[in-house]
Amino acid sequence: AVMRGVPQLLSRARLVRAGFSASEPVLAVQAGILQPDKFTQTFVQIRGLKSSKVIYQAPLTAVDIADSGKQLKQELEAIVGPGNVSSGESVVLQHGQDEGPHPGKSPDIVVFPSSTGEVSEVCKICTRHNVPIIPYGTGTGLEGGISAVEGGVCVNVSKNMNKILQIHQEDFSAVVQPGISREMLNQEMRADGLWFPVDPGADASVCGMCATGASGTNAVRYGTMKENCLNLEVVLADGRIIHTAGIGSRPKKSSAGYNLTSLFLGSEGTLGIITSATICLHAIPESVAAAVVGFPTVQNAVDTVVMTLQCSVPMARMELLDEVQMKACNEYSGLSYPETPHLFLEFHGSESEVESQTETVRDIAADNEGGEFQWAVQQEDRTKLWTARHRAYYADIALRPGCRSLTTDVCVPVSALPDLVTATKADIAENGLIGPMVGHVGDGNFHTMLLFDPADPEEFRKCKEVANKMARSAIALGGTCTGEHGVGQGKMALLEEQFGKDGIDVMRQIKGALDPQQLMNPGKVFSRN
């Protein structure tokens, strides 16, 4: 496509959404041609070429197209300040790439607003210019959720909006801005006996965790983001600011109105920008014990988990590491565990509760061919015991220096776990891949780190195939194609499979109602039609 007289910023976005394909030759002319009628019609004249294509767009201000890109930047600078708008190469590059294996696309401009009001104005400007909006927290996602597939403006809400707005100790709740991460919040509260337990592994933004519906190792006892979020302040594409549970509301329960909090939790930036979250806090447990035990097979380990849950032992963490993962951990951290599936466990409660829980689980493990049951209470000893689990990801990358990992994420009913794990391991072996496995077994959720050489597209293709097969099996077993990482770009087809056409159409209708111009994080979760 040859595009002259039209700034790249707007032409790519505008022409794509107007239906032009990238290979279509287009010459567009400047100024003087824009007399849009009230509703949406704009006519681009093709100089020297015959074309009858008419583009329907959102209302334009009567402005010279050539200046539109510059105009957009100026309008944004007027809101957030010139120091908080950047289209520098390294800045946009950083804001288009998350920590997953998919190469991300850079946005055209990054803005750093300092308040919800500024976010609202930024959205209004982008709406007027018909430019995509991509919310950005800490960039620690794994599914390409921040990739600016249609270009646009990336709104980094964590750099300047990083206050803990309120902590309500007696009510066990806190209100935080997007720049606050889980670790920052817990450090702030450490002397007050409170903590925020949802731990996705990365030091993610709490609001980002709301956007992806994040979970973590503690979910079996404390729940995921969905169970720990009371209210969200959200800015919609048109700049409206709403509070999903009511303005300033933070009761433990409510029957008032539609459950908008649930709607925005896990919407991955496709419905609005989360500018503050009211989250639930929990009491730091009086006593914590950690334990590690090995099993001959995954089935033994999962049986132990199922029986433990059936005995109502309130486990805080139950993690399964398969033998490939244990080998990686041994090599990386200099440990000497037997190379068999292991369970890593954590118990929370009063001293006597923890003791009795540990005893119960020790017995169940022994009944299921469990090996040596190592356990610890002291902080440093627990840290040492869990080293293998904490460093699992790095241990995997070290198995093949220079490789990257396609991290899968499926969740099934716990009873279906052993079969799926066995089938997956067979599939990985058949394809000649290395895929260590770590699972939040208490939730039926597991991850395989499929290693690939970034310079070998065939290997990456095999990894994708294995991942897709796993997701499809999970759906067939009554599970979900993504337990905690989100859909992003890579799992859009799987979502259709999981929900069926009608289910996805309802999602499309909701998006159409809240984001008619399709500006919020395009190209994610589900396709336009």
Binding site: E188, A191, G193, L194, I284, E286, Q379, E380
Partner: protein
Amino acid sequence: MALKVLVGCKRVIDYAVKIRIKPDKLGVVTEGVKHSMNPFDEIAVEEAVRMKEAKLVNEIIVVSCGPAQAMETIRTALAMGADRGIHVEIPLGQMDTFQPLHVSKVLAKLAEKEKVDIVMLGKLAIDDDANQTAQMTASLLDWPQGVFASKIDKTDAGLEIIREVDGGLETIRTTLPAVLSADLRLNEPRYATLPNIMKAKKKKVVKMKPADLGVDMAPRIQVVSVEDPPVREAGQTVSDVDDLVAKLKDKGFSSA
């Protein structure tokens, strides 16, 4: 046989806070800024509590010198497992001239008064980085000192202490009573839990003034100025290796 421990805790600006210099350049802004217990003191308290859990110690007295807010620090130590507290009140206006020598004199007097066997401190405070109090307290009491401790064990004769020094680890033995200071790797402190925070409210805290202990508060050190480190200058982009080498030569980093 069970020992009595006096643990010193200081209330300092929280380590995560961005420090700002006061306009008069004589100190840093403390008003409205988050404060918490000096991290090395947390480690000291934790060690005392572990010794009590191992039945080596039967009483932990925590002491803090400072304004009214020092009570929060004392309560945190009580929530971690100390038995009772002493708050040596220093009015807010006098905090600028309250220096390690004064603290040492206070601790020495209290150690004698309470007849303790161990004075346990953090190796330094993260606001002044002085690393003097433990050493001066030991000197005033004429007690042995085990500072920068990364491991403390009880022996028949007294204590065996492993210290972190520049060259590695040094193991020393001391008799009791002794003054110890905690280094980073001594332990990982526990978090105060809600039930313990509630119990701590009922534990006794006695208030007193330095004058009650006969300590003269006149400063020996005058702070002349406090300044920010120099602002980081923009870097220079070099076009190729020859350019880099030429620049290194210009700045005197290469003699070739």
